[in-house]
Symmetry: C2
């Protein structure tokens, strides 16, 4: 398969822009052909202007027709074959085992949404029958319209062109325009072709899917500002997410932005936990911090414990293990530069001690940063919010608290996170309840005696959290409920049966679960 | 009961501000004592700073404890007695029959949320059991924290200090700080006292409820900008709602704003409908346009029909009925001034003809505006978005379309609305389907052969819609689902049973419906 380096707009390739960039192998820092063309403003317009009429067609498609399309996408992704893995590995350095697993998760997401759509209950049909003085009212969920998706760098499959945001928006019935991540443009082009083939085979409108390349901020800003876009999904940095959020809020007609922007994922370790299993926790933590070279949004970047000899031993043990672990490959130059800059900012605070690392690896021939452990005091954290910055890489910060009150005050001062974790022992349960409530307020997921990396794709999962972890804490970007970011309820009052969508018709022709006059039932009216 | 004119902050009255304003009787334009004190920035801070620790207590309250509180609020509102009706009537001119009904709706909302809480399933508990390679994950909905509520002028009970936004936020478990509407400050003070009594009797923290007076923009801006506020509910004008939305988006930590800002509520009438029941439709429309002196967010402000002799007869009939109807009382001077200004702006378009009214009633001793019917062309609507402005009063605009294509193109150009309506006949069904889909995209509720005023409080109701009708089209401000604006899911991973909230414990001690490993059940694990 010959890569073109072009944008993929409603089934056709396009390269009208003069600005180009190249794919870079993070293991060698070498660029590879072809040149990828930044989309122009006119190309962004064309992508959205194809999505708008596509939506006018798609909004009348049945759930099962969309389900067939999602299954086709999964099959087309598999059909790309090994070149997808090799290309992504060359562009990200993540390695074939990880990428093979991530591909399975990616196709699995499309198939899971297809199953959800075939079941039909996700449409949440609610019917109130006509009564004296009250009309018949029936509501269900409908797609919102064309959606802009911003791909992440750290999951080139599962949170990128064919990632969870794209899958959930398409499942909702929304056309998507994806802004590809410049860290893996070749991988993105392969996915775009798979979508193109799926669109053609399933007879979907060409504007169902477009993919735009761009290594600056313009393409994203044009896309979010376009009148035809109804919602935005974003996975990436706080800075990038906030810029998109601000642009959407400034529109004459503002639209919702569902941005997942990472976090420091605080971990509290009690003295009881240290006494009974310090070694296990140290091993687990170092594994979690260095996994994927620390480039996970749920990476544990903040470890809170009380001052004691056991705590100092624990910090020393973690530091030694971090020092001994090999420096992993970072995804790309932007990640490496951003990480260095974030650590520099943190180091500038006089209350920060560097226990190991803290610097870029000198003269490395691959993108990397030394495994880093820092330490500070609880009062320093409370005095300077900038210490809560995410260090996106193999970096963690120990926060040593004077006592239980100091710990509690520091937890209260935490910003929003995707996760919060506590390691404690059964005999400490009576003392822990309040702390757990506190940690709950700071995150979307609370973990007991575990590690935050690894996000199970199950119904009960919540991948979200208060700002700055996300811009929409009431929603999730992992799991089936992610679909509701791109749907909205519409009610029909006294509308004749032939004009109602099938899920709301008297006879329940699809046989789906509905809430009828307060009772869940699959029966006809 | 002696009115104090003071703010009501966490159980105490406060009047530190030097700026004051008065309650005005819209029927006489006469002011009444006492002077009401605009809240100061320090008073706003105090209200929020009392709400924050109140939330730290309330977040651990059971649903049934909150339900008892909601029932107490309803009882305390009833306990105010007839003075509530008389005071509101004097401040709004809405009349005792309407206000009596609205009071029943208001207490009914509190009791309906209490019932929802006692049932418990609203918490949406989802449990995935531990399996090899997958931890136990359990999630449910939790309150977001202190909420700011902006009261509306046109529903002094049902969408004001004790309105649906306040009821749903308290039901969620969130303390509220209400910015009262300056159109009915005395009514607001009576409600504040009822909340104070309920807080005291139920032993809730004093910061559960505060009410701030203010007749300018400062109080609202200070409130939304306060770091302690987690979400905002607003009902009012587009201009006011957008200002609040913008302020929330500009915060260092942005928060969601659920603003319901009214709309023009387009009504399409087919030639078939005119042929069979023009008189009935005209009567219904005029009733809907003039009900409550047109001051409903679902008031039909835009009537689209095709050019024909029947259409001209219909427009003439509606015009005659509007002319014959008495000019009603407007709520207050701001409404009267705003309506005059909106109509002036519309009249300035040369494509607008005034068929009747279009002016303030000269030298009236009460706030009013003449019943107004205007007419324009579909192409004029498409050429100037400003013609889609809401005229908040007894005003409607006929949009005459050349033919079906002209009508369809105009519907496509409509902005977002709370409702859209179509009047048609059964024999036209085959031609109507696509038009209905189009109208659906423009609204939160689609009405067949009815009128948009009157919002049934049932489960299937959707009161919302695309911007500018609201800032959050995925949510509703009427009905039980309104509670989810003020809640967010939190997941617990491997957390020991004693530390889990009751709704997630193995034994299901509350006996509520839960989704356990994909199955809805009330059984224990």
């Amino acid at each position: 398969m010959q890569l073109t380096g072009k944008n993929y707009i409603a089934g056709a390739t396009s390269a009208e822009g003069a600005e180009t960039f190249f794919s870079v192998d993070p293991r060698s820092k070498q660029t590879a052909e072809p040149a990828f063309h930044n989309a122009t403003n006119a190309e962004v317009d064309r992508a959205v202007e194809a999505a708008v009429p596509a939506f006018q067609e798609m909004r009348n498609y049945s759930s099962s027709r969309i389900a067939d399309f999602l299954d086709e996408v999964a099959a087309q992704i598999e059909g790309i074959g090994g070149i997808l893995l090799d290309t992504a590995d060359r562009e990200t350095g993540l390695g074939l085992p990880r990428l093979t697993g991530e591909r399975a998760r990616t196709t699995g997401q499309f198939r899971a949404f297809a199953a959800l759509l075939r079941d039909g209950a996700y449409l949440r049909p609610i019917i109130n029958s006509e009564e004296p003085g009250q009309p018949s009212i029936r509501q269900m969920q409908f797609p919102v319209g064309p959606v802009a998706i911003f791909a992440a760098s750290n999951f080139p499959f599962a949170f990128a062109v064919a990632g969870g945001d794209t899958a959930s928006a398409l499942a909702a019935g929304c056309p998507v325009v994806v802004k590809a991540h410049p860290g893996h443009p070749a991988t993105s082009e392969l996915f775009a072709r798979a979508f193109g083939a799926a669109v053609e085979r399933q007879g979907f409108p060409a504007g169902t899917f477009s993919m735009l390349q761009g290594n600056g901020h313009d393409v994203g800003q044009w896309l979010v500002a376009h009148e035809g876009i109804e919602a935005v999904g974003f996975t990436g940095s706080l800075r990038g997410g906030r810029a998109i959020y601000d642009a959407a809020a400034r529109r004459p007609r503002p639209i919702p932005v569902y941005a997942e922007m990472g976090s420091v994922n605080p971990v509290v370790i009690t003295q009881g936990a240290l006494a009974s299993r310090a070694d296990d926790i140290a091993d687990g933590l170092v594994g979690s911090i260095t996994m994927g070279t620390g480039q996970f949004c749920t990476n544990p970047g903040f470890i809170l414990l009380q001052e004691s000899a056991a705590s100092q031993d624990f910090i020393a043990a973690v530091t030694a293990k971090m020092q001994a672990a090999p420096a992993g490959v970072l995804l790309n130059e932007a990640i490496a530069v951003g990480l260095e800059s974030a650590v520099e900012q943190t180091k500038a605070n006089p209350e920060i001690s560097i226990l190991t690392g803290g610097e870029a690896v000198a003269e490395s021939d691959y993108f990397c940063f030394s495994n880093t452990v820092m330490q500070t005091t609880a009062s320093a954290i409370r005095a300077d919010d900038r210490l809560q910055v995410e260090h996106f890489g193999p970096v963690t910060l120990f926060v040593v608290c004077d006592d239980a009150d100091d710990l509690r005050a520091t937890v209260d001062a935490l910003e929003g996170n995707l996760t919060s974790t506590i390691h404690a022992e059964a005999e400490e349960l009576d003392d822990i309840g309040d702390l757990l409530h506190q940690l709950r307020e700071k995150a979307g997921r609370v973990i007991w005696n575990g590690f935050p990396t690894g996000v199970a794709v199950v119904q009960a999962m919540q991948h979200g959290g208060p700002y700055p972890a996300t811009t929409a804490p009431g929603t999730t970007s992992v799991g089936m409920n992610a679909i509701y970011r791109f749907m909205r309820p519409i009610a029909f009052q006294n509308v004749p049966d032939p004009l109602l969508p099938d899920p709301l018709k008297d006879g329940n022709p699809l046989g789906i679960m509905r809430l009828v006059d307060g009772v869940n039932t699959v029966e006809a009216l």
